[in-house]
Symmetry: C2
Subunit: 436 residues, 2 copies
């Protein structure tokens, strides 16, 4: 792995990292736009056409029946289904901590508050083919259920006619009953615009390839979306006493995802830097997804040598990684210095993989430096809020002068009129409301 020892090298690496995300490909944008337009105009017919073209030439019905879900789920290994169930329980417990309640307070003739309600209808996108993961189903559906979303619809393409038995097990386990075997931009279009067969949703969540991501970005505003996901990162801060084989394994667990994934170790120990570099080479050679991991490590892997651990955290903050593992003597001491990270994993016994599957927190995290401003997917993503405002006559009278003055200063006399007309009718006794 390349070793970075100074600010100049770090700057160049950071630029390369950020550039991974700039997938502003006009050809893809055009293709996606065509599909979306087609779905908007021709509905189910267009969805079926693209499903046949891209996923399954034999596709006929778009909706999966409960029996089909059952049948595919039946092929799953019960041991793994049990693991999924334990995982689902932990995820549900963690997200249960994120529920919020409507609130209000009274003050001098007014009641003010905010009503917090679940979204009405949410669409979850689950990739198909080799990227079909049951954990995607758990991590996207459970927070919506915890928020109280009543209608959850799920789209998963049957690539080559195949459906993943574990994805189907997760769907069955969570009781999602509205499932379509569709994917790509056509699935996003169907959920955003609605078709005869598929009612439009309020929000679309879930990962996907560049076509899915581009389509989500294009329909944003017509519906809400979760976030703009980019290539992902692991960043490990470690001191001299950390175990090199463990760090190497954790770096590679990110690298195997994607050639654009980034795996970075930041340490103040030269000894550890060398040992990890050797271990990465050794472990790489026996991985199933060696090719992907190798490409990722060689382009976006690095070991940054810093003078101390405080410095290590400040470099980490500039990368703003999706996953941050702190493997030092006292990881919690560095925690207050961490500004930007999707999720922080504390200590030797907390490999990122625990968080990917079963620890409880969501594995949908802000990538590619966006943890500067985005947050993990959570129950809060499935609420909508309305402000509540109520004034009594006295409360109105108390505040009316302020509002009149401000409306006048902004030159909005129809705004000021709404105050004046109430005062005038009150004075004249012409409003029955004056009685209260």
């Amino acid at each position: 792995m390349k070793v970075i020892k100074n600010e100049r090298e770090f700057g160049a690496f950071l630029t390369a990292l950020k550039r991974r995300g700039s997938s502003d490909n006009p050809a893809i944008a055009r293709a996606v736009k065509t599909i979306l337009e087609d779905v908007r105009k021709s509905g189910d017919e267009a969805v079926l056409k693209y499903t046949r073209r891209f996923d399954d030439p034999k596709a006929a019905r778009l909706r999966l029946s409960p029996r089909e879900i059952e049948r595919h789920a039946g092929k799953a290994d019960p041991e793994i289904v049990k693991a999924l169930r334990i995982s689902a329980q932990r995820i549900r417990k963690f997200h249960g901590m994120q529920t919020e309640k409507s609130w209000s307070f009274c003050e001098a003739g007014s009641v003010l508050g905010q009503s917090i309600r679940p979204l009405g209808r949410v669409g979850v996108y689950v990739p198909g083919g080799t990227a079909a993961y049951p954990s995607t189903v758990l991590m996207n559906v459970i927070p919506a259920q915890v928020a109280g979303v009543k209608e959850i619809v799920l789209c998963v393409p049957a690539v080559g006619g195949q459906l993943n038995p574990y994805v189907m097990s997760a769907i069955k386990m969570l009781g999602v009953s509205e499932v379509y075997r569709i994917g790509g931009a056509q699935a996003i279009g169907a959920m955003a615009y609605g078709t005869k067969g598929i009612k439009k949703v309020d929000k679309i969540v879930g990962p996907g390839n560049i076509y899915v991501a581009t389509a989500k970005r294009m329909v944003f505003g017509l519906v809400d979306i979760d976030m703009i996901a980019g290539p992902s990162e692991i960043l490990i801060i470690a001191d001299d006493r950390a175990d090199a084989p463990v760090i190497a394994a954790d770096l590679l667990s990110q690298a195997e995802h994607d050639e654009l994934a980034s795996s970075v170790l930041i340490t103040d120990s030269k000894r550890l830097a060398l040992a990890v570099s050797d271990e990465v080479q050794r472990q790489l050679s026996i991985l199933k997804r060696k090719k992907i991991a190798e490409a990722s490590i060689s382009r976006y892997g690095a070991i940054v040598l810093t003078k101390d651990l405080r410095d290590a955290v400040s470099f980490s903050n500039r990368i703003a990684p999706e996953h941050l593992e702190i493997m030092t003597e006292a990881p919690e001491e560095l925690l207050p210095l961490v500004d930007n990270a999707g999720a922080v994993f504390l200590g030797h016994w907390t490999p990122e993989a625990l968080g990917d599957y079963a620890a409880g927190p969501n594995h949908t995290l802000p990538t590619n430096g966006t943890s500067r401003f985005f947050s993990p997917l959570g129950v809060y993503d499935f609420y909508k809020r309305s402000s509540l405002v109520g004034f009594t006559k006295k409360g109105f009278q108390r505040l009316s002068k302020v509002v009149e003055a401000l409306a006048d200063s902004e030159g909005l006399d129809a705004h000021a009129n709404t105050i004046r007309i109430r005062k005038e009718m009150l004075r004249q006794g012409t409003s029955y409301q004056g009685k209260d």
Copy 2:
């Protein structure tokens, strides 16, 4: 005003309303893209060039000095500044209810939680010219301050070299010290990419014209943005006893904003429908912004007659208005039926204008039907969250089997390795971490 009496007419009106938002203008998109690219490449030089071209031919320095802010603020009427101060206090109190704290809990060998921190640096956009409103400053800056954002930067164009004294008063009052006299797509570009003189921000909030909105949409992902704002709405649900002049005034207060604004009354009373229609005509004739209000009312104004008030709420939910006034005998009884609304104003004494300026809740609300899934601007918009995960050796051992099984089922063996290697080293006693 046009009166809508059946589902067919309502459907046509709803379609017209939704179409207002589809400002997918390719010429504007191209112009904005050019400006953004230019700002990205040439920085301050490009910003100054466009500022001279669009706002102020004499523009020289981009940053406003404290003395300039002071000087412009000095021209404000002290009575109105006092009103702004009262307004700011109420807004701060309301938003204080939205603060959140980091949390964590321990469970069987693991600590799980979420750290909630303010964004590092936020950019607030304030329009210039006739749309320069001091209330924009209060409503966008205060929630960021309440969240604890340390760096708040504000951009406001000096259209024709002019700066609004009340905008400057609000800036001074809130202690915002980093202020640039720039606007349009060039201001959005400067904040999103950063220039030599203007450090890049994490999030951009605030209203703007179509160029600003388009630019915000384009930089979304590189930075966060508040929401995609569209034309706004007022919707009033009223029963037979409501006061027609008051309702007409409230409808017009929305209509005067913008020709695309929509003002709708939904009532079960024919008498009220007629009375309001007459009143609107009467009050229209004496408004300063008569032309705008007239265009808005004639195209996007309507009175919907329903058989009862429950029905009225269900029509309202389909429109999903930005502002919903309920002027019925017992407005709180209808409240539980309201699904979609940016803000709800209860009863005769709560004109929307109170909320626009001084009631306390934010006036930045989801428009054009997006209250189905977006929320008012709030303190929550200025936080970022990180998940926290920490396992002890025992906790790790307990969960490791589950995670190994799931990683294997997803074919991600490098993920499974991170578990296996820890278990193996523990067994062999080769990890010093085994001691814990």
